[in-house]
Amino acid sequence: MKKFIPLIITTFISITLLSLDITAKVKTSNFIGRVVFSIYYDVVEIVPRLSNLKAENQRLHKELTKLSYKNTQLKEAQLENIKLRKLLDFKQRTELEMTPAEVIGLDYGRFANSIVIDKGEDEGLSYNDPVVTYQGIVGKIIEALPTKSIVQPLYDRNCRVSVLIQKNRTFGILVWESGENLSLKGIPIYADVRENDLVISSGLGGIFPKGFNVGTVDYVTPEPTGLFLEVSVRPTADFSKLEHVLVITGAK
């Protein structure tokens, strides 16, 4: 009988944790992360880094991302200008603050994917900060520890990104179900979507700023219902070579 007591207690605690709302879960995970992962990653990061090369590399990545972003923004401005001619007023875009970070851990769980980066709250990072590379969106921060952060990548079933197809401004939601591509949901059957169309963040939802590359259309087929299209999207960010990322702070 004695052996059942720990099982009953741990079962009760586990079910209680499972039934918490997401804010409480994030806070609890944050607490566990502070205790465990800060020490773990301090132990793992034992290879000394060449700080000059690292700083230069980070500066160049930041510059490249800004230039790539500006390029997409110019195209956006062109398309937007046509609409804005018919409007009486518009808002000015603000400069985004970006913090470079290095990827130090990948995919610990088998069903829930995550990326760990080497910057955290101490550097001004916080929950829901978008994470990008010069190629495009990588994901968003779901836990900000003091000196590390856990990133939920696009390749996680709980990650949803509001996007639009740059060419025709059709809105949709990007999700990952399985495999190497993402799925774009909510595209009506009559939408003009073709292979290699660029998919960018729409800015809706308040997490990812508008205009960041997310992916390109790989193929399009009608859904069995006949109401929507099944759009498969290849991410622009190269997740197989993810070493350095940029975290957008102050975008909210």
């Binding site: 004695k2 052996k3 720990p6 099982l7 741990t10 079962t11 605690i13 586990s14 079910i15 209680t16 944790l17 499972l18 918490l20 997401i22 879960k25 994030v26 609890t28 995970s29 566990i32 992360g33 465990v36 992962f37 773990y40 132990v43 793992v44 851990g105 990948l106 995919d107 610990y108 769980g109 088998r110 069903f111 829930a112 994917n113 995550s114 760990v116 779901i142 836990e143 856990i150 939920q152 996680d156 709980n158 399985s178």
Partner: protein, 160 residues
């Protein structure tokens, strides 16, 4: 001193899982070293140890993806308990017995986990089970004997 060696084994397996396993994985098929150490230590030290260790290690893994916080802890505590009740009955040095037991524990763990994770969406359940669980369980079972040998050597060359 033995407690320290156990901690070293657990940390070593976790570090290998976090830092090296991605390089020896094939798409979504990857071994779970945490399962190996859970099964080994539960068989060695019994159901109470297995329950508590499974709960703790499950909770640590869950914290990386807070949406399902508690689920891994629940499943691993039950696996630790179940395997621990077989203390002394299995796990002689036969690598096939070791591989088979870990395969079964892996599959049972994932069935419990996926039933909740997929919210009883059986299409997704079978998709994940067939594409990830079975092959990952086989992979884990195959490499288990080597890692168990390593764990035994670190914990004073124990034979049980």
């Amino acid at each position: 001193m033995k407690v320290l060696r156990i901690i070293v084994v657990v940390l070593l397996f976790i570090i290998i899982q976090g830092q090296i396993v991605n390089y020896i994985s094939f798409k979504d098929i990857k071994p779970d070293l945490v399962m190996i150490v859970l099964v080994y230590l539960s068989l060695k030290y019994g159901p109470i140890f297995g329950t508590l260790f499974g709960f703790t290690i499950g909770l640590v893994v869950d914290s990386l993806s807070p949406f399902f916080l508690g689920l891994g802890a629940l499943c691993k505590s039950w696996i630790g308990f179940s395997v621990g009740t077989q203390q002394g009955k299995f796990f002689k040095d036969n690598p096939f017995t070791q591989a088979a037991l870990i395969f079964v524990a892996f599959v049972v763990h994932d069935i419990l986990y996926l039933l909740v994770y997929t919210k009883l969406n059986f299409d997704l359940f079978f998709d994940l089970f067939l594409s990830q669980t079975l092959f990952s369980a086989l992979y884990t079972g195959v490499i288990a004997p080597l890692l168990i040998y390593l764990a035994k050597k670190i914990i004073s060359g124990d034979d049980t």
